[in-house]
């Protein structure tokens, strides 16, 4: 009888208690929120462009929407814009995204570029971005304003690399 009680108490302690802990953690997790899923392919359309002729902001999106591919790991982002040589890194906090391209780009984008944008959900459930691109440390270069639409089919996370 004592042996059975010992075995039972060991089982409760090492298996039962953790199982209760798992159930509690799953319950607690119902209140935890993750950032919006913005990974995938976007089409960026410029609304207004930069003011300095020859800078990349002055020509951005002149030939139509530019594909922007965002890879997301939670709040951490990396992105590639077609025609821009390097990869940006950034983050998403409360639906606001920031992406920074490093200082060395292919001409004419030779300086560091920053994108600030807000994620919004349209009435049809589609995600959109609206924000600005600016050349860092160049206040006279002005800003380019843009909107972007997420393309429904591409999901970077589950793609074969």
């Amino acid at each position: 009888m004592a042996a059975i009680t010992r075995v039972l108490s060991q089982y409760l302690l090492l298996v039962g208690l953790p199982a209760i802990g798992i159930a509690a953690a799953l319950q607690a997790g119902t209140t935890v929120r993750a950032p919006a899923d913005i990974s995938g392919q976007w089409h960026v359309t410029a609304i207004s462009r930069g003011t300095v002729p020859g800078s990349c902001l002055a020509s951005v999106g002149r030939d139509g929407p530019i594909p922007l591919r965002i890879t997301q790991s939670g709040r951490y982002l990396s992105a590639r814009m077609r025609g821009w040589h390097h990869r940006a890194s950034g983050s998403i906090e409360s639906g606001r995204i920031t992406l920074d391209w490093p200082g060395v780009q292919e001409p004419p984008c030779v300086r560091a570029v920053r994108i600030d944008a807000q994620v919004a959900k349209e009435t049809d459930g589609q995600l959109s971005l609206s924000g600005t691109m600016r050349i860092r440390d160049c206040s006279e270069c002005g800003v380019a304003r843009f909107v972007a639409e997420k393309q429904a089919t591409a999901v970077v996370r589950s793609e074969v690399p």
Binding site: L14, A19, A34, G74
Partner: protein, 427 residues
């Protein structure tokens, strides 16, 4: 045609690199899987793609990747079938109290740690495309996995397989494997149902029919394979074809049901009636192609998905440290405390904990399923791959610390000699 030429060159590089990596690992007393994992990561964007992007793009062009993926899945099918085949039903019946408690504790405690990690990591490394429940359960399974084949090999190399510790460890790992795969099947089903797979009722009904059919086949049709083998005293081509057909059919059913094809391969191995000779004959036919050709493709494919560059900055490395700490402490504490409470000495109990902490290839299989489903993000995938590598790497030296002196006193057979006598199907 150029695609075929690219594939052949890529395969040559993968096979040679994996062999070199495996041999290098063995030279420093590590299981070959450690070297093969490192080589896989090195051929991906973390090293080759970073140092020499043009070479990486030439060696693994994008249009080649679907072919590599398919070949790697075939390799995994064979690997999972062999893992299932090694599973001994009798072992479950013979399990002592120590093995039952230790195996269950080595699942529930790491699973709890996985769920706790999920509470912290979900808002940081996941997105709202994945529900918390799916994410947490996946983390629980990923933390609970033990690499049964690698562990068995380490035990053999240290001549511990016939000791009480070896027997308990093998039993624990076998129970762990089956439980972890059942749990993972549940998580995969949850995710696929949530993302528009088969309706739940159809999936559950299909699964019930599948399990029922396997149980019936195990008692009626499948014993004929074993009796034919015993009568002919060899594995004929027809018998081999029947086994392969069973594995493929089982994999097809589980994939169609919205689970994963690997579950079908694993359960086909579990369900097949077996004898030592039959298992050995099948292993001899299958293991060489799987370990030398197909599994290196899987390692490379995993490496192509692993981007250590995504783990950047203090915060990310802190997350990795946290994952590693929880993974190691969950397995180590759970198994060690359970084994100690049931009467093993502190040394044996600690060794059991260390051995159960080996994750190896099994963890990579689980992680790749998670990434394919979109349950884990690319950065979290990379962190978990690193965790699998570190936990596999640390096993042999730690066992050496616990058992090294005692082994030397009792005269251990050198590793090379043991490997030659007792080949193992697992890398």
């Amino acid at each position: 045609m150029p695609e075929l030429l690219s594939l052949l060159i890529a395969l040559v590089v993968l096979v040679v690199a994996a062999r070199l990596g495996g041999s290098a690992a063995e030279r420093i007393g590590q299981p070959p899987v450690v070297g093969e994992m490192v080589v896989g990561i090195a051929l991906g964007p973390s090293l080759l793609g970073w140092l020499w992007p043009a070479a990486a793009a030439t060696l693994f062009p994008e249009d080649l990747l679907p072919h590599l993926f398919t070949l790697s899945q075939v390799g995994l099918l064979i690997f999972m079938f062999l893992v299932g085949l090694e599973f001994d039903h009798g072992q479950l019946r013979r399990l002592g109290h120590t093995a039952v408690l230790a195996s269950h504790a080595s699942i529930t405690i790491p699973a709890l740690f996985g769920c706790l990690a999920a509470l912290y990591l979900y808002p940081r490394l996941s997105s709202d495309a994945v529900g918390f429940r799916e994410f947490a359960l996946f983390m629980a399974v990923a933390m609970s996995v033990t690499a049964f084949p690698v562990l068995a090999r380490i035990l053999r190399e240290r001549r511990l397989q016939d000791t009480p510790l070896g027997t308990v460890t093998i039993a624990c790992a076998a129970v762990d494997d089956v439980t972890a795969w059942c749990l993972l099947a549940g998580v995969v089903a949850l995710v696929r149902v949530a993302h528009g797979g088969l309706p739940v009722a159809l999936m559950v009904a299909g699964l019930a029919v599948y399990v029922g059919a396997m149980l019936v086949a195990r008692r009626t049709v499948l014993p004929a394979i074993l009796t034919t083998f015993q009568r002919r005293e060899r594995l004929t081509d027809n018998l081999f074809a029947a086994v392969i057909a069973l594995v493929l059919l089982s994999a097809w059913v589980t994939e169609w049901l919205g689970l994963h094809l690997l579950f079908g391969a694993f359960f086909a191995g579990v369900a097949l009636p077996k004898s030592d000779l039959f298992v050995r004959a099948l292993r001899e036919r299958l293991e060489m192609v799987a370990t030398v050709l197909l599994l290196p493709i899987f390692f490379a494919f995993t490496g192509l998905r692993t981007e250590i560059g995504l783990v950047q900055g203090r915060e990310m490395w802190f997350y990795f440290g946290l994952i590693l700490l929880l993974a190691v402490s969950g397995k180590l504490l759970g198994s060690t405390i359970a084994a100690r409470m049931t009467g093993l000495s502190w040394r044996d109990a600690t060794a059991l904990g260390i051995l159960m902490n080996t994750r190896g290839l099994m963890e990579l299989v689980v992680l790749n399923i998670g990434l394919e489903l979109g349950v884990i993000s690319p950065a979290l995938f990379s962190m978990m791959v690193l965790m699998a590598l570190v936990t596999t790497f640390m096993t042999t030296p730690l066992v050496e610390v616990v058992y090294g002196r005692a082994q030397r006193r009792t005269g251990v057979v050198p590793t090379k000699q043991l490997t030659a006598v007792q080949p193992d199907f697992a890398p």
